[in-house]
């Protein structure tokens, strides 16, 4: 399924259940983000672009994969927008696009034998390209 423009944003909102309309552009999410410098687009831009209806660039960019899911942005957000859930939604959409989500072996840094299998598989699905 080709997902672009408004439809993409609607899908992201649906998956993330995030109320992006509440964002007041304070940037506290980005200020809290440990991966800020790695990212092409920053957490507040995820919220801003999704709310403005044009987030195709986010799908192209690998910013979503720079997120380490520490959830600090969601914790600190004064408006309850939860940018981490938006990022996660992009990863899910990407994973769906690659219907047979094979994981790239070079990313298997997570395989330390401690993590439960299911978590591992789902993590690979999302974090591998």
């Amino acid at each position: 399924m080709e997902c672009k423009g408004e439809a993409l944003c609607a899908e992201v909102i649906r998956i993330s259940a995030s109320d992006v309309g509440k964002c007041m552009r304070c940037g506290k999410c980005s200020a809290s983000c440990p991966s800020y410098d790695e990212m092409e687009y920053h957490p507040h831009e995820f919220a801003y672009m999704v709310s403005s209806g044009d987030a195709d660039a986010l799908l192209e960019s690998d910013s979503a994969y720079k997120c380490v899911s520490c959830l600090t942005c969601s914790e600190r957000c004064p408006c309850g927008v939860a940018p981490s859930r938006l990022v996660e939604a992009f990863r899910i959409i990407k994973a769906r696009e690659r219907s047979n989500a094979a994981f790239a072996p070079e990313r298997s840094v997570f395989d330390d034998g401690e993590i439960p299998g299911q978590a591992l598989v789902s993590a690979f699905r999302k974090f591998s390209k």
């Binding site: 509440k22 007041m24 552009r25 304070c26 940037g27 506290k28 999410c29 980005s30 200020a31 809290s32 983000c33 800020y36 410098d37 920053h42 507040h44 831009e45 600090t72 600190r76 957000c77 004064p78 408006c79 309850g80």
Partner: protein, 662 residues
């Protein structure tokens, strides 16, 4: 029966002639007519003439909403001798012609509405408003700038005013401020003269270190009990020399006035310009009061003002009006762990900053880091801490605290003034500067003083050795910032005084979800509370700055003066009334009354056998009752009724509107 065309507003959709015709055959209707604009002078003349010519007992006007012209028609009717409460309005504009398109439907609904009004009118009876006297004395609760200004204005008009202040001195938050925006003049210089004025004004009494214990009564006739807390110092004897505070052996008590940044003794005067300038003994820390050991202050006091046996004192006084001026408090920042508040003494609130820069403050006006008393080279200001937060997250307040943008600009400027070489950052979401000379002030900070305004919130502050690591992002440059700061100032949101809720309950006054007092109308009655005779002044109603507070204080004072200048008050006649024959005195009505308007009395009633029997019955204070009708519904027997909205009248309306479907 008068049917208004309202130009084409009504007549466009409703066949007004048909309505008037239909009403002619309605029983009880003797006259029915239409007119272009009933509310116009000539329309009113038609009404007046018909009332006289037909000796009408009551009239129904089919027109716009009663919220619009009920008063107009009532006035017209009473000008020709009809009781104004014998006028009923059938709303055939807002609730008929404007919302329905089909002419036939709208006309038949208009007829139904007119019938309902007639049905109600038939059961109306003339109502006369009750009257009560006015006690010519006002009470101001809270002795900050709002309370002081209100009291001064009322006193100036020649009425007696009492100020009740919970702390040992009046002055409030403004006394703690250093400079004021946008003029940068000294807060103390403009406040302390007012404090002295208040103390010296013969119409003003100040109950400091006191609280409102209970309130009863109603507009014009409140009875208030004030609890004067024991200060263990005779107020009228103490000269305020301060010798006792010097000699007191307990000196390591964090000072409230300086927000814990320095210490005071167990017997203390809050600050040099305190009014009344009288010492107070802190019973929690005084060794004499706690362990009966010490007594130094009593020994050194030459005036003999110390009295360890003093007890709380209760004073009862009557008032005609009450002004609430309980002000605000900064919120607690304990839920904002990311800002290292509590982890480093160099993360301070804006109010603490005020004390740090104040010449009367703990550092005597020297702006230094609290931790090492060194000059700060990099100062970071963070705005909106706890303001504009999603309330369901439970961290901060939903609203904008309004004053932070301006005082932060002021603080940044003051920092730059003291240390021109310092780096000063202000992190903001939006800068809001509506107000006279406000934006100019902010621009000056940025342009003239070189304060760096950065759009974006601070994410985290971590103590890093002696300094503070501030992580933020500059949203405009799309750049991550890591600043090593020496001092961080958090612009904490402000919230209503924690004592306000209990007070609101005593006053039967309502509060909004944030705990601010609700005004009677947000636009038209901004300084009155919904409870008659209770007025609002200052930040107890919502965040506001000093100029606004003073303006509102004056407005509240004007309202109070207007009230106190009346000899008698007339009340809304649509109040509850109790049929004592039917009342069984069960107290249900009293339990639901939000105004405490219902009391119970024993009355003698005749019983079979020529005897009488005393029975408890409800009695409504018409001056207090606001006419909500809650009691009338709670009353099982129907003894309690609401004049103007009697059960029989409402049921007659119900019957009329259910009568036909067309």
């Amino acid at each position: 029966m008068f049917v208004c065309h309202c130009g084409t507003n009504i007549a466009g959709t409703v066949d007004v002639e048909a309505v008037a015709d239909a009403m002619k055959s309605e029983s009880g209707v003797v006259y029915s007519a239409t007119y272009q604009y009933m509310c116009s002078q000539s329309g009113q003349d038609i009404i007046k003439k018909a009332i006289r010519d037909y000796e009408l007992g009551g009239i129904v006007v089919c027109s716009c909403s009663p919220r619009m012209h009920e008063a107009t028609f009532r006035k017209a009717a009473s000008s020709v001798g009809m009781n104004p409460y014998m006028v009923e309005i059938a709303n055939i504009r807002e609730q008929c012609s404007w919302v329905h398109k089909n002419r036939e439907d709208a006309t038949s609904k208009a007829i139904t509405l007119a019938r309902a009004a007639v049905a109600k009118l038939k059961l109306n009876f003339p109502l006369t408003p009750g009257e009560s006297g006015v006690t010519k004395r006002a009470l101001v609760i809270g002795g900050g700038i709002a309370g002081i200004q209100t009291a001064l204005d009322i006193a100036d008009a020649g009425y007696k005013v009492d100020i009740v202040e919970k702390s040992p001195t009046i002055g409030g938050k403004m006394a703690q401020l250093d400079k004021t925006f946008p003029t940068l003049d000294c807060a103390a210089c403009i406040l302390t003269p007012k404090m002295v004025d208040a103390a010296q004004n013969e119409n003003i009494r100040i109950f400091s270190y006191s609280e409102v214990e209970s309130v009863s009564g109603y507009v014009g006739n409140f009875t208030v009990t004030v609890k004067k807390k024991a200060r263990y110092v005779k107020e009228d004897v103490c000269t305020g020399c301060g010798l006792c505070t010097e000699k007191c052996p307990r000196k390591k008590i964090p000072s409230e006035f300086n927000l814990g940044m320095d210490n005071r003794s167990a017997v203390y005067i809050p600050f040099a310009q305190a009014v009344p300038k009288v010492a107070v003994i802190d019973s929690e820390h005084c060794m004499m009061l706690k362990e009966n050991k010490c007594g130094v202050c009593s020994k050194v006091c030459t005036a003999g003002a110390i009295d360890y046996t003093q007890k709380d004192e209760y004073i009862e006084e009557k008032y005609g009006a009450i002004v609430v001026a309980t002000g605000y408090e900064p919120i607690s920042l304990e839920r904002f762990g990311e800002y290292a508040r509590g982890m480093s003494p160099d993360v301070i609130t804006s109010l603490e900053f005020e004390r740090l820069t104040s010449a009367a403050g703990p550092t005597h006006g020297k702006l230094v880091r609290p931790s090492d008393k060194m000059k700060p080279n990099t100062v970071v200001f963070v705005q909106c801490v706890g303001s504009r937060c999603e309330p369901s997250l439970g961290k901060g307040k939903e609203y904008c605290s309004k004053i932070c943008c301006m005082y932060t600009a002021k603080h940044a400027m003051l920092t730059k003034e003291k240390y021109p070489d310092a780096e000063v950052y202000v992190f903001y979401i939006d800068v809001r500067t509506p107000g006279k000379n406000f934006d100019e002030f902010y621009r000056r900070a940025a342009e003239e003083y070189g304060v760096k305004y950065i759009k974006g919130m601070v994410g985290k502050i971590t103590p890093d050795g002696e300094r503070l690591n501030v992580s933020a992002s500059d949203l405009i440059c799309r750049k991550k910032l890591e600043i090593k700061a020496d001092l961080v100032v958090l612009a904490a949101a402000i919230e209503p005084s924690p004592t306000a809720r209990a007070l609101a309950t005593k006053l039967a006054s309502s509060m909004d979800t944030n705990g601010f007092f609700t005004e009677a109308h947000p636009k038209l009655r901004p300084v009155e509370s919904p409870t008659a005779g209770v007025f609002l002044s200052g930040a107890c109603q919502g965040p506001r700055d000093i100029p606004e507070t003073v303006a509102q204080a004056g407005a509240a004072a004007a309202k109070v003066i207007g009230l106190l200048s009346k000899e008698r008050l007339t009340a809304n006649p649509c109040v509850a009334v109790c049929d004592e024959e039917m009342c069984s005195g069960c107290s249900v009505c009293g339990n639901v009354c939000p105004y405490g308007a219902i009391t119970y009395v024993e009355k003698e009633f005749r019983v079979p056998g020529g005897r009488t029997k005393a029975r408890r019955v409800a009695s409504v204070n018409e001056a207090v009752c606001q006419g909500c009708g809650c009691c009338a519904v709670a009353c099982m027997s129907g003894a309690m009724e609401l004049k103007g909205f009697m059960s029989s009248q409402i049921m007659a309306e119900v019957d009329a509107i259910c009568r036909t479907s067309r």
